[in-house]
Subunit: 197 residues, 4 copies
């Protein structure tokens, strides 16, 4: 059992995480580190000490969130029927991403390779979602010819809807996003053949 870091160090680390999460969520991953330090009320050096690289800060933020999401996935897997579990989780991810610009950027692959970071960290979003997907497919709730990558792509697509609709009515945006989510879920459920008419 490793020695605990000093209490103030732990507090600072937590504070940086908290602020960075907010800032990345609001403004995306390209916010200068400097800005995060400023808002957290610490020096830039403090950020760098805890997260030697901006990428590592991304990882800490995003993987932390991912971990919670995976936990939710597991809970859903236990508590609900395969179909609803999958669809609920899918919608959750989308709402999450819509509320979190940085997460959306990372999921879309822009400028930060979340997937491999997760893998390195031993997290398995892929696994969590994959498991839900597979079960839903086995239960016949989701068409069998889609895979994890497809689902992720559809999720990313939904997320770009939000990006575009800035400056208008946030409630309308949210409604439109929910509607699109529903449409996509419909598509995933449908068992139709797929010739192009």
């Amino acid at each position: 059992m490793a020695k605990q870091p000093r209490a103030d160090a732990r507090r600072n680390r937590a504070r940086v995480l908290e602020v960075a999460a907010e800032v990345f969520a609001t403004d995306g991953l390209s916010v200068p580190v400097h800005e995060i330090a400023r808002r957290a009320g610490v020096g830039t050096g403090t950020v760098s000490r805890h997260f030697p690289t901006k990428q590592e800060l991304f990882a800490a933020i995003l993987l932390q969130r991912l971990e919670q999401l995976i936990a939710e996935a597991e809970l859903l897997a236990e508590e609900q029927e395969p179909g609803p579990a999958f669809f609920t989780f899918f919608a959750t991810l989308i709402r999450e991403g819509a509320a979190n610009r940085g997460l959306a950027e990372a999921l879309a692959g822009g400028g930060y390779d979340l997937e491999s970071a997760a893998e390195t960290a031993g997290l398995d979003l892929t696994g969590g979602l994959s498991a839900l997907l597979t079960r839903a497919q086995e239960a016949g709730s989701v068409r069998p010819d889609v895979d994890y990558a497809d689902v992720k792509a559809l999720m990313n697509g939904c997320l770009t809807r939000t990006g575009a609709g800035t400056g208008t009515d946030p409630e309308a945006d949210a409604a439109a996003l929910d509607h699109l989510t529903a449409v996509v879920c419909d598509g995933l459920r449908s068992r139709a053949g797929s010739a192009i008419d």
Copy 2:
């Protein structure tokens, strides 16, 4: 007899466009202008002469491509039934974007406002796709409760599938993309109600 620009200038301009198109397609819109100049074997000033601003270089490349695509859209609108016209064009856009990281970034809105650039240039991708969509909906080939933004979002989503394709087997990637496209088209076609089961 219009006054032609000098032959060597045309060659260089073409070379810059060609190289930039390649580089943007491969590496995205954030490659330094300097790098494009280097690969084209010209000085940075030469790039700036032909395209005074990086944005104008984007425009030259992307709008040229867009123009062709819009022409295709119009052709399809004339020659095919509403449904197939829409779905074919949708698939075309996706294949195009998948082969072109820069285009995909621009379509997704990251770092370059393609939409308004197109508008300025008198191009109307929105209009082209919108028209196809509306007609397909009127013909009953596409569910009536999706709009242009939804379609664009789904397109963007498909495009992120490629991004993830970790370079293993390009043919498999292309096949997977086509499959996803087909799935999405299915979804757009389905007339089902949309309760989350």
Copy 3:
């Protein structure tokens, strides 16, 4: 007890100011920021940190000097008769500008809008000099048909005398400048009619 900036930062800032003041005084406002950094023995980023913009560096140097000069003007206004107060201050400005190419450039309006920068900073050179002028005119020490712009122009004129002084004998230059200043002051004092004879 106000929070002091760090000692080394203060030293560097001071060093940059000092070097920049020297360099601008000697070589004018068009010296590259890079050069100032080099001579100060710091990186370009250090200059930018303290003075985010070249203009702000100008401001820091010139307004500081201006502030002192305005204070002098106010002191003179209180302690001396209107005439001497005005003429002394006028001569002071000229000597100052003669020793400071950057200040002279800024006063002449070349490349940096000192006037409006001063206004923004709450400084009012115009006001200071204007007030002295008006009072001297009311006291009958300065001919009533000149205005602030005239005075400023005459000052600028005197300053170009130095510019020409081809480096031969600095003492002789200074003497010549003082003499010219005296001549101009004579002219401002004279009450004669002004037909061109």
Copy 4:
């Protein structure tokens, strides 16, 4: 007698001179060479062929003007009394400079050493003005304790009045300039002692 350049070359040279004179007069010496070529309807290479360096273009323009002015000075010297000759020429220079931003910049020493260029070219503005000045001083029309450099400085001063008054009423500007000129002439005429009151 050297061989004449080709007729079209002579025409081009003349055209460039003409346009450059206009442009420098209007916009100052910092206009890009490119812009002059463009307005003259020639290639940049043509400008460079005739005037290998921007400085040489300055010289050609400004010295040509200077030559005319010197001729005027000589004419005045012959045809008028010493005093009026001097004052008239002085006023002429000022009006010239006020109408010619480039000339004013050069006279003020900003970015181009007109004086030494003139010397190199065998022109002697100094001489022309100096001669007028000396004669006027000998005739008792100008105070004896000013020299050529003083006069030039006063002229430059007058010229900065114009620079400042942009954007308002051009006629008022011209009137103010004439008034200032008259004031300065008064000062040059005055025989008063010059203690600072």
